[in-house]
Symmetry: C2
Subunit: 160 residues, 2 copies
């Protein structure tokens, strides 16, 4: 169960690979990865961090890709709906998905200091919740699991 985000890694690969995957996936599925949508995905990928919709909108505005809220929200809706990004409910913010294309129940570790987000996967939680849900007669359609705390870097910074 690997999770990227808190550790050093070749970041430019993150961006290029994921955009390529998204490109391919969209073509196969008949979806349009338009310039705006692609750019929003890139912006999210540039950071392993949760970005607010208005923060994204600011960048779009700078690049003349749109200036009104719906522009950002539509692109984000598209990305979330198709599994290229996730919404962090705790923060009303968005992150790029690190496992696009694969069905997964994401688990997020969110640093309250630097907003860095690490995405991990959790099979166990899902099956466990499934059992509880079944007992209750509840049908689960979506699961949100978010852990908030301090990432390694910010712990070190605080300690010093």
């Amino acid at each position: 169960m690997a999770a990227i985000g808190f550790t050093h890694h070749d970041h430019s690969c993150c961006i290029q690979n994921t955009v390529d995957v998204a490109d391919k996936h969209c073509k196969q599925a008949g979806l349009q990865l338009t310039p705006i949508r692609k750019r929003v995905l890139e912006i999210l990928l540039e950071e392993h961090r949760a970005l607010g919709a208005y923060e994204i909108l600011d960048r779009l505005r700078q690049e003349n890709l749109g200036s009104q809220p719906p522009v950002a929200y539509r692109a984000l809706d598209f990305l979330v709906k198709n599994g290229f990004a996730h919404k962090i409910e705790r923060m009303n913010a968005f992150v790029a998905c690190t496992q696009p294309g694969e069905v997964h129940t994401p688990v997020f570790m969110i640093c309250r200091e630097c907003d860095t987000v690490a995405e991990s996967a959790s099979e166990l939680s899902k099956s466990q919740l499934g059992r509880t849900a079944k007992d209750l007669g509840f049908t689960i359609e979506r699961i949100v699991i978010e852990a908030e705390g301090l990432c390694p870097n910010c712990q070190d910074a605080t300690a010093s």
Copy 2:
């Protein structure tokens, strides 16, 4: 792992018992369960449903207990901070806690049709997440687990 909310039960007991527990707990801990705070707790307890802050504010207004947003948010902050209520991040709304006083990692099952919320507990998820966090060097301070779907009642309603 019991969970109330979707099933029939003696509801007036829910309210009275929980308010009593809160009363006692506050006295012991030197906290003030003021009229506003108590009333907000009661309002939340009247439904096993997520209520928005403004929905609560409306009721307070009707009863002349306050008319400005901060009044509701302060009371809610108090209740959440002291474990008498939870915030449902997915909905920007609040529910009364069904296990006040006990340390727990709540799991919520939220019906997307009627907003009913059932609170359950999950030891397993916690330890599992703890392991992942440890691997990453991440320190968890708070965990949000929310499952969205259809409650038994709304499934039946849809089917008919």
